[in-house]
Symmetry: C2
Subunit: 193 residues, 2 copies
């Protein structure tokens, strides 16, 4: 997506060790207009997939997922990283290993919100090792729901997340694909949409 790539070139910052910082428009401060356009793009790509739910994980995935869900006219569900006080009923749970934090955390969705009649579009802000997306796919599959695809705002194509998801039979649609962050420069490859 041209506008996203331009924005990353303009406002993204490369930190050491393969980190791309987009906290001025995606992960901390959020540009609602760009989010709406990205949500619309995801909705367009998956318009014929019969999506019934959009699923993401708190917190940075919520904005693009919300606009995709709005466009598709379906509910959005965000998986929780910790059990909340009022999540008292049966949960779908999955373990997600974070390579950056080197910890395994549990993510969960209330079972009542996903069923074997659902067709799910998973949305997240970043795809790197693919562990978060894999965890979300596992939650959906526990419920018997069909995952129609994973929509990603920024894919780090030099990490193996995309391969992992494709090996699970999942369609991946990334709006920006980063080939490399070497020498403090963002090098792109052709995006999916």
């Amino acid at each position: 997506m041209e506008e996203l790539v331009s924005r990353i070139q303009k406002d993204g910052n490369v930190l050491g060790e393969g980190v791309l910082k987009v906290d001025s428009f995606v992960t901390h401060q959020v540009d609602p207009e760009l989010m709406e356009k990205m949500g619309a793009r995801f909705a367009e790509v998956f318009a014929e997939s019969g999506i019934t739910k959009v699923v993401t994980i708190e917190a940075s995935g919520i904005a693009p997922a919300l606009y995709a869900a709005k466009q598709l006219n379906v509910p959005m569900i965000f998986a929780r990283k910790a059990k909340s006080l009022t999540m008292d009923e049966e949960l779908l749970t999955s373990s997600v290993y974070s390579f950056t934090k080197q910890v395994t955390s549990t993510i969960s969705i209330s079972r009542k919100f996903l069923s074997n009649e659902d067709k799910v579009l998973i949305i997240d802000d970043f795809l790197a090792n693919g562990q978060a997306a894999k965890g979300l796919i596992e939650l959906c599959r526990q419920a018997g729901a069909q995952v129609e695809g994973v929509g990603i705002v920024i894919e780090k194509s030099f990490q193996d997340g995309r391969q992992l998801l494709e090996d699970m039979g999942i369609r991946v649609v990334s709006l920006a694909r980063i080939a490399s962050l070497a020498d403090g420069e963002v090098a792109f490859r052709e995006a999916d949409a």
Copy 2:
């Protein structure tokens, strides 16, 4: 807001100990259309306040804050509950005590996103004891920003959060105000908008 009140009556569940569960349309599964309407309502109320930033806290505040920001044509910032890997620069921080969890946590916003030229609308999903909103107000004031008001989706008017904020000189606008959750029933009082 009539539509929100109806939805709470239809889909809200009262748990023991003053907990109102709205996880099917606000706090876990999210109704994008309702969120858009609520965001528009906040934007309408604060249309003449010269808002430059909408501020919320992850995760349930993001959806209504995003739509309010979209309508006001300004960025949305969500405060983080824990320091993230890529938040390496100077932070505004504040402590928030949770009565339900009985723990104090630190919330933060990167200093670069708020300045003394900002006029802030704070949005959150719930107002109970007011500790989260108070923490967000403190972050804004640390930056010298002016808090023009706090917009709340659901206020528990039987707790003292609203009074706390008003004592700080803050305007509070709640789309639904809950007078009582006694006997498993939701009793409303007149909302602000």
